[in-house]
Point group: C2
Chain length 144, copies 2
């Protein structure tokens, strides 16, 4: 399944790795304004949900839910936002983010609002550890 | 399942009904700038994906894919965008929209860009008929 898969370079440069779910690589958006995870199915050449098999789509939905619950537990957020666009980065990827009534973009979607604020490295490492533990996966503590 | 379900009044006022899928009511956003459908699971009191049963989540994913394919076939779009926010309208609803490289918001997400342009009624009726046919559902031709 993962033979030809490599994470898109834009996704890679904008995020820190969290770990590997059964279907998806899970990464943390490097924007401390929002707790924002991105799931990337490890299947090469896929841009649209309908290009996944039905089984993989169902698995993706379950991983979205698992990440949503982990993100909500970590943040105590008011609402989870889930989205897949791919207009610029074509590799299929799904945003899962915690939203709070006092966040910078509330109640709008976050895209186009303000400027990303990179994490302090110890904060990123702490979040990666916590999210990986909540998801029962091995954390990727390679934040540099 | 649908005992207490009624479509949120904001969703109702912003859209035209297309028809009923097995899980979701399907409506057409009344914004002629984008071919934009919204799926609303007919289950009362649900705001987050994780509040649906696993079976209903899987069915929702399949209905998202069916609507994506219908919207793409209708529009010849470059990319499908899928999102669920619910920061303002709490009733769980999933946006599925066709994106083109020459649309008003490309390549950004559409939220916060410009102003909705209501459909001419014959255009809305034509789209509802076409999408319902593509989805093998009965069209709701109640555009007034």
């Amino acid at each position: 399944m993962a033979t030809d898969f490599t994470l898109d370079p834009t996704l890679s440069s904008d995020t820190h790795a969290i770990g590997e779910l059964d279907l998806c690589s899970l990464v943390l958006m490097n924007d401390a304004r929002f707790l924002w995870a991105i799931l990337v199915p490890r299947i090469a050449g896929v841009s649209e949900l309908y290009e996944l098999s039905r089984g993989d789509r169902s698995l993706l939905m379950e991983e979205i839910v698992q990440v949503s619950e982990a993100v909500e537990a970590q943040s105590g957020c008011k609402k989870i936002n889930v989205a897949t666009f791919g207009n610029q980065v074509r590799q299929l990827h799904v945003h899962v983010m915690a939203r709070h009534e006092d966040d910078e973009a509330w109640p709008s979607p976050v895209w186009g609002v303000g400027t990303a604020q990179a994490y302090e490295l110890d904060k990123a490492q702490s979040l990666i550890t916590s999210l990986a533990r909540a998801l029962s996966i091995q954390p990727r503590l390679n934040v540099v």
